[in-house]
Amino acid sequence: MFVKNIFVTVIFILSLSLASCQAENPQKVADFTLQDYNGKSHTLSDVTDSRAIVILFISTRCPVSNAYNERMVKLYNEYTPKKVSFLAINSNKQEDVDEVKEHAQKNKFEFLVLKDPQNKIADKYDAQVTPEVYVVNTKLELLYHGHIDDSRREKDIESHTLNNVLDEILSGSAVTVKESKAFGCSIKRVK
């Protein structure tokens, strides 16, 4: 009985230390350099003066991604003055740079839109769907991964998840929802 109690206590302490270790060592995302639709290169780790970086995997043709165009602009306008950086990535094989440029201009995207040829960054991030969001800090630690909000129909939104995440980061609180999911279009990859 005594031995069993010691064993349980040891397991408990080990679990606690593992949990605290994980909390102290958040998952890091890969750095990358991609070109925008004008051919200018941008590196993620060069973004140093931001309180958070929002990376959005988007599509020009996906109706779900397009349902978020205005919402993404609104988020950009609301959080950029609060020192949050936004950059979008297009990894879809059939959406070329010209199409990405036209789409960004038509939708008045003021944030960077980068082309991910051969979906290498989507592969590194294991991004599957558009729209899909990663929020990281300047140490490239992952703070949130998931949807922008919980409904492609604006009138049915119940959780403004990305807004909540950014508000928590800006207020210095811990991010309560670190992961979420939503239906969207699959990223069309090169085989």
């Binding site: 043709r61 109706p63 779900v64 599957q128 769907v129 899909e132 949807h147 919980d150 129909r153 049915d156 979420s180 999911k181 939503a182 239906f183 969207g184 279009c185 699959s186 990223i187 069309k188 990859r189």
Partner: protein, 187 residues
Amino acid sequence: MRGSYIFHGLVFSILFISCVEKNNQGDDIRIVENYLRETQNQDDISVSLLNEENFQSLRTGYQGKILFVNVWATWCLPCKEEFPDLVKLADTYHDTDVAIIGLSVDYPDEIENKVKPFLRAQNAEFPNYVQNFKRAEDLINLFNRQWRGAVPATFIYDKQGKQQDFLLGKHTFEEFKAKIEALRLSG
């Protein structure tokens, strides 16, 4: 002369009667066609709602069969491109040990104006559901925690109800069939 009047009168009468009959026949055909169209519109496509409560019964209801579930949406182009292959798959495995099921992630209020017209145009006679979950995430995680919600997505369960395949993106009839046949061979 009198005989000639009678003859022309007879010919005119025959032509008139045949013409009236022809018109009536045309009306009858139109009525039958309209009736068929209306009854077909009402009865040919049946779509059920899938929610938290009946998700498990979807699985248990097909136990003893290989269950193939394709998740799709009317807003998803690759889903629509893939659909004829699903119809072919359902025809191939009709009345066998394989059940082909479709699950649309459109909203329930889009069943009549989007889901059913699409299924009707595809001649899709296999069972189809429309999700009615409060949180999409719950449905996604019930299928597979590795799935982030991208459609089309296909899940294949063995006869014991264990998920054996999770296929993301558009696939062909041959690819689907190969997966099913591999499961059939393994028992």
